[in-house]
Symmetry: C2
Subunit: 145 residues, 2 copies
DNA sequence: GCTCATTCATTGATAAATCAACAATTGACA
DNA sequence: TGTCAATTGTTGATTTATCAATGAATGAGC
């Protein structure tokens, strides 16, 4: 391994750029489709759709985001009438987050498009390559615990 | 390919998390070492070190960042007396960016540590796996042009 | 039953990313 | 030479991430 690699040659740089540009690509496609939400907001919406009536801490675990980020993203999604916060009778510190009716409709209406975008990003990669990628990323994640 | 994968199972999510957590890991190590700059600022510093006397547009190309981000990051690095902006005699729209003396000293002093951190992230990956990773990321980048 | 540590959600400060709009220059070309 | 489009850097608005600190509520242990 070359310890004196230029910035543009390092794996971290490549990883970072790839992720950022994928997100940018997805965002622009979403804007063109007129979705009017961000990539991150879609991800959060999807987690809520998959887990309905979930607390913000659990949401932060599933989405792997800081609870502070979750709070602010939920504020925005709530303004767009996509999600609601319901007080938890069992634990008054908590809110249970769920999709609103229009949030559910929005999610259903755009899931296929979003899946297609996601597929486009890994287009042309074989199952073997995808498996390799997952394994490598897993290893990296172990390295930084 | 499963079109109905949960968020946590998608490649985009894995990529995103890996990059974010690598950055977080690196930042915390840097904080412990007392570097007092951010991961992104180090990257920019490194690009300047590699390209001395470079314009902000060229810097934005090398670092693959928006010129707006470059402007603000340079403001911060300038406050820390790491870089300077010198007026370009040939083109009065431009500044030429270079390391200050203390910026150069700082960069020299910490390069080995930063290289070590970078190595730690890909520890245990074979040359073959690194090559695979680069190829796969390259393919993804082609997909989103 | 009380106390005290923990948990949950929020807020503030700071950094970085994106887009859009802008002023000052530059340079192409009619 | 004069005009006009393009380039360079900056700023503003918005979103997301990080950490630290906070108030309210919970629950474990005495």
């Amino acid at each position: 391994m070359n310890e004196r690699a230029k910035v543009g040659e390092t794996i971290s740089f490549l990883l970072d750029q790839t992720v950022r540009q994928s997100k940018l690509f997805t965002q622009r496609q979403m804007d063109q489709l007129g979705l009017n939400i961000t990539v991150e907001q879609w991800t959060l919406l999807k987690v809520v759709a998959e887990n309905g009536r979930i607390s913000q801490v659990d949401l932060s675990l599933k989405a792997q985001k800081d609870t502070a980020s979750i709070t602010r993203m939920l504020d925005l999604l709530q303004k767009k009438d996509m999600v609601r916060r319901t007080a938890d009778d069992m634990d008054r510190r908590k809110f249970l987050i769920s999709l609103t009716e229009s949030g559910q409709i929005f999610f259903n209406r755009h899931t296929a498009q979003m899946d297609a975008l996601r597929s486009k990003i890994v287009e042309g990669l074989s199952d073997q390559e995808l498996a390799d990628l997952e394994r490598i990323l897993e290893r990296i994640r172990q390295n930084i615990v």
